[in-house]
């Protein structure tokens, strides 16, 4: 076969090349390390006790500050936590040049919300199955809606987000 006879790349070949070009795991670990350094120094300056745990969940880096009295770093409805997460993502972006979807947790706040919202999603799905009518839930942030969608899907029903931020909410539909 001469050079001119090289067949065009198939789609699967293109996909493989693409995946090789962007190794997911090492970048996420680096994101976690940059974030941990940024937060560690903040805790030092503010004289706050807390340990930093890093992990990779699915396709995002997760960083948790645990221990100590961290309530004020969470704030009402998690507003301080969300602000800190935003700044931490920017710090990662400044270092790597890549947008980060890093998830920050403080004092187990998001973990706690996750279990409450999973329960809400499961219970709402049961209710919709029983009544056959769609149910609208209260407005939630993107993280919270994702948790509810996952719980509804696990219960075998379909849900969608409707409305505009920050009033966007989940609707659970009967099958």
């Amino acid at each position: 076969m001469t050079k001119d006879d090289v067949p065009p790349m198939t789609e699967s070949q293109i996909d493989v090349t693409h995946e090789d070009a962007e190794p997911a795991a090492p970048d996420l670990e680096r994101e976690g390390e940059i974030a941990a350094d940024y937060l560690e120094e903040l805790l030092d300056i503010a004289d706050l006790d807390g340990d930093i745990d890093m992990d990779v969940e699915g396709e995002r880096a997760t960083v948790s500050i645990v221990g100590g009295d961290l309530d004020r770093m969470v704030g009402r409805d998690g507003v301080v936590l969300d602000a800190l997460q935003e700044l931490t993502r920017l710090a990662v972006h400044t270092s790597t040049g890549m947008r980060s979807r890093l998830m920050l947790d403080v004092g187990g706040y998001r973990a706690g919300r996750r279990s409450v919202l999973t329960e809400l999603g499961t219970r709402t799905a049961e209710q919709v199955k029983a009544n056959g009518e769609p149910v609208r839930l209260a407005p939630m942030n993107p993280f919270e809606r994702k948790v509810v969608h996952d719980a509804v899907a696990a219960a075998g029903l379909r849900s969608e987000s409707e409305g505009e931020e920050p009033g966007r909410f989940v609707v659970v539909h009967p099958t």
Binding site: E41, L42, A46, A83, L87, H93
Partner: protein, 79 residues
């Protein structure tokens, strides 16, 4: 402590960290932290629709024990 915390938070998100400085001013209407950054970093520190500036104010507000610390963002040429 607050000025140092703010300086650290801002240094981490700009392209010219060595040009970040924070001045702590006690005025008649309370305490103000003035952050100065390289002009090219001003947009980054303010963010789209002031989102980043708001995040900085929220975190500084949470760290401060007193109520109502102002955070002003300026470029290095502003007095």
């Amino acid at each position: 402590m607050l000025d140092e915390a703010l300086e650290h938070l801002v240094r981490g998100i700009v392209d010219h960290p060595d040009e970040v400085s924070v001045r702590d001013r006690q005025g008649r209407r309370g305490r103000t932290l003035e952050v100065r950054v390289h002009p090219e970093d001003l947009g980054k520190v303010i963010g789209r629709n002031g989102r980043t500036a708001k995040a900085l104010r929220t975190v500084v507000g949470a760290l401060g024990s007193e109520r109502g610390v102002r955070v002003d963002i300026l470029d290095v040429d502003e007095r």
